[in-house]
Symmetry: D2
Subunit: 346 residues, 4 copies
Amino acid sequence: MVKVGIIGSTGYAGAELVRILLNHPDAKIVWYGSRSYKDEPYASVYGSMFELVDDKCLDDDMDKLAEAADVIFTATPQGYCAGKVSEGLLQRAKVVDISADFRIKDAARYEAWYGIHHPTPEFLPEAVYGLPELFREKLSGARLVANPGCFPTCSILTIFPWVKAGFIDPDSVIIDAKSGTSGAGRGAKVQNLFCEVNENIKAYGVATHRHTPEIEDQLAIAAGRPVTVQFTPHLVPMNRGILVTAYAKLLRPVTKEEGKELLDSFYKNEKFVRVLPPGLPAETRRVKGSNYADVGFIIDERTGRLVLTGAIDNVVKGAAGQAVQNMNIIFGLPEDEGLNMVPEIF
Amino acid sequence: MVKVGIIGSTGYAGAELVRILLNHPDAKIVWYGSRSYKDEPYASVYGSMFELVDDKCLDDDMDKLAEAADVIFTATPQGYCAGKVSEGLLQRAKVVDISADFRIKDAARYEAWYGIHHPTPEFLPEAVYGLPELFREKLSGARLVANPGCFPTCSILTIFPWVKAGFIDPDSVIIDAKSGTSGAGRGAKVQNLFCEVNENIKAYGVATHRHTPEIEDQLAIAAGRPVTVQFTPHLVPMNRGILVTAYAKLLRPVTKEEGKELLDSFYKNEKFVRVLPPGLPAETRRVKGSNYADVGFIIDERTGRLVLTGAIDNVVKGAAGQAVQNMNIIFGLPEDEGLNMVPEIF
Amino acid sequence: MVKVGIIGSTGYAGAELVRILLNHPDAKIVWYGSRSYKDEPYASVYGSMFELVDDKCLDDDMDKLAEAADVIFTATPQGYCAGKVSEGLLQRAKVVDISADFRIKDAARYEAWYGIHHPTPEFLPEAVYGLPELFREKLSGARLVANPGCFPTCSILTIFPWVKAGFIDPDSVIIDAKSGTSGAGRGAKVQNLFCEVNENIKAYGVATHRHTPEIEDQLAIAAGRPVTVQFTPHLVPMNRGILVTAYAKLLRPVTKEEGKELLDSFYKNEKFVRVLPPGLPAETRRVKGSNYADVGFIIDERTGRLVLTGAIDNVVKGAAGQAVQNMNIIFGLPEDEGLNMVPEIF
Amino acid sequence: MVKVGIIGSTGYAGAELVRILLNHPDAKIVWYGSRSYKDEPYASVYGSMFELVDDKCLDDDMDKLAEAADVIFTATPQGYCAGKVSEGLLQRAKVVDISADFRIKDAARYEAWYGIHHPTPEFLPEAVYGLPELFREKLSGARLVANPGCFPTCSILTIFPWVKAGFIDPDSVIIDAKSGTSGAGRGAKVQNLFCEVNENIKAYGVATHRHTPEIEDQLAIAAGRPVTVQFTPHLVPMNRGILVTAYAKLLRPVTKEEGKELLDSFYKNEKFVRVLPPGLPAETRRVKGSNYADVGFIIDERTGRLVLTGAIDNVVKGAAGQAVQNMNIIFGLPEDEGLNMVPEIF
């Protein structure tokens, strides 16, 4: 039984972790960390958990936590985890960081995009980018995992194989992404009030969104050289889900069959990636509440472009579900344990 | 041209006032008051107003405002208006208070339900309850108008005629009300975040909601004696609209025709109240964006009860629209000026 | 392994059955019945099921189905199941009817409210009303189960104990219910289009809704005499969930402690009913995606009334989840098998 | 007073026409055409219009209509208007066709994209593409106006000036568009039911959407040569609004100031186009319920691309509002008459 501690358990990613882990046969939450709700019953913050969680929220004492838990999930603002991690801590507990602190290998690049100082760059080389479909082997036994961002998870799974195969020009990639509002977190901000979000759609962070370098770094691995992409996220009036629509110049004509074969082959052992039939666009509803990523493609012969679509549940495959998938791999558990949720019909 | 000052112009009721008044032929906003956004361009708070409002937000100096404006709308938290009103102020400007400060004639009753001290009870007798359909004569020339609450507006228009006519037992009245989320205001609270409100419905303030005494006081006028009602509001995942479903014991059998005749007669000169055909329930969509109140009834012979339904747009007839209607009456303008919005089709 | 056939598997209740049963360790779907989508892959109707269900939809041949399945779920329009059930069929397969055909014991009453002829009233005495919290013993080994309606499930669980205990006057009960739009089914009707439902709330079926007699019949069991209730459903712009707000006259003063003790005692062995602390209203979000029913109460001393609130997920505890719970009992499986979904955080 | 007839008055574009024209001082609807609801009171189809429209729906007899009306709006499926228009008809009444029949000058191109035969190509040369911001002079006195599509209106207003000025490579243009669900019309289709649309986002018509050639034809005018664009629409769970996010390669470095100057100059006399400050993305909420088009731009120096955003209300500037704007121009009325709706705050 893996003992789990969660820092930031009352945020949305943290709460989804709770929801998933309550049904995980080999894990047990021993620490519900939440500075904001310290000493309050967890179920008073999330009424869903009434009678399912009796614990109260605890503060975020990483040291005590490392004694109590085998693994610590940090579902916290940027900078927190990097400020706490240490050799001593990692010797006592594994860390799956759901923030961005260890996703970007180049500390200067991290600091440029995030605008904050990285206090512990010495752990960047060790940190494993926790996208199991690409880095499963490195994850086994890892001490420090950088759980990927929601947009990067969806973007990379959707685009990586095409870059890797050399079918598209990586610098032509334009990612137009759409996210449900849970991606904005649970902070009390006017811009995230119901009446401000409902019946509206808008782009944000155009040309500056901090998930851009994370996507570029991974696609660079596929390309074998640095890559620059255009990334634009949008806020959609729904709770969950990310849809990526990506555009790229084909480097040569590709048939539907070739494309399908590419994806089928790339993801042939991947339970959580579902390759859609050619021509069928992904929809967020089809993966809602599950750990699946659906990826699809349409070849536009008229324009010579490839239109790629990918969908995930931002809170599951884009955060808590993927974190549990990483935990399962770290501890040698079946990778899908606790993650067999069937996507919701609506 | 009536010069208008708005205190609290960046709240939802205040902003809807702005929207309505921009198309009012005989009114002009001279003061966009907003403590929170002082010195910021109004259009940076509400992007809708881009190029339509060039003004910056001003502070809430009631004294200066009384010099600049003919009428002051206070779209403010409870207690603000009562703390500012004075004989000197009322001699210089009319006040339409969109808060609850002057709605309840008995200061002790106000204090008991609202839990705050009333600093200026001496103005309670003068204040006119601004429901034009009931008190039009008193409004003409009034100096201080208590603009009714959203739930009370809808509840009273729906129920008053039946109590007045003696068709129902007023103490049997149960009001089950449903409100769009704009009713919760624009404060940055976790409970009003998109993800907390969307895909949920809940009751709140059960047995304790502060609109209860306001409804009772008005129905008491209809009954000619004190009245106790049951009032339960619910929060609905939509932006606008209030639906009231009210239940009452019939004191004697009533036919559809009698009921229709009662309402038609009661509201025969009321442009903004639309009497629905017997059996047709009101829907919030049918009044959305307009100053209309739709009222309907169903006689349930099986149970001996009357089921009343009423719908308004909480931000229009339930707040800003009614405030403008009151302003029009005070200044002798046509009552519907600026208020001829056709309800939206969706 | 229980072999399951579903008639109407492409409706919303049918599809939720599929979703639940895919994770049920002791059940296997052998027949995806759907007249509308016959011969089409099930996953082409519900993209969520892509790669999870490979079967095609089959027609609704009850006889063949009785050969193939141990239990048949009929998620069909009223009249279908009653027209197909026979002694021969019931000897070969259990039937859990998700329609209303066998919920009302008095055929004449059924016919009066539903406006259709009941062709097989001879099975009404045998049919067990499938609310396990009330009729668990009768369900064990039953051949024909009438799965309760969504509104009745929520209403009865919320109100029954209070009537049974004699705390309230049953004829004073007024049920104001609110339902997500999935309750309206998957039929292609203009009134259920997104733009018609979104940003609107309305009552429907006032004084005439067909769940009324079903609720009355069960509360009559509690009261030991016939009961007449007022029932008004409303359509809410959300996918899932039913909220019941019920009002009743207290027959004598009741304390919070007495009320809590009553519910705790009544539901002490019921995993799927959660008794809320006194004063806390139920919310649909707290049970979303789960088989839980939350029940709560508020005593209004001012009015002498009890305000009861209850919440379920209409598609789970109000339909498919309860059907699986009934199946588990019929076949002697653990009652919660396949039903341990933690309610969603949003 | 312009006498107006509407064919298809019960569809969403038709109903919005009604809503707008009811407040138009110089127009009067004389014919509410609706084959589906013939002889039914218009207000029974749209409860919003209760007591505002007393007329019944009439059939779609174009000949009779041409006698009764000065202008006919055809808010009808593709093919209808082209099948009815004739010299005789145009001599008696102006026609503003809200369908696509006369938007594409090349009948073969129309037939290829729409898959239907064009019966009256002889009127294509005469038909004026009704985007007043580009073709105002031709509209004055026109007999046959092709009211632009919703996506084309938003796309063209957003992109045209940049192509015209030679700042961007027109063939590099990628338009990722997002539309509220009213764009799908009022047909009773499963895919447009509330539960199918809500909490979902998806692309549709990828590489094949029929608004593509319409956009290309207009941008070709700006470019002075044929243009190929990538166009992908998405369905968003909201009622109203279109957001266009467009990407294009800059042909040379451009400063914010140059860009702003370009747009300010291009749209300097255009009341209904609002040029946003550089860097501020458009939002659908900011134009909701109004005839405004907001256009903005962000220069991404890192990628060498221009990111353009544009927002309209698809039912107003994208359909009914623009149709009224065209009517005003045709008849020499002030262009903004009846169109001064302030955008909604939510």
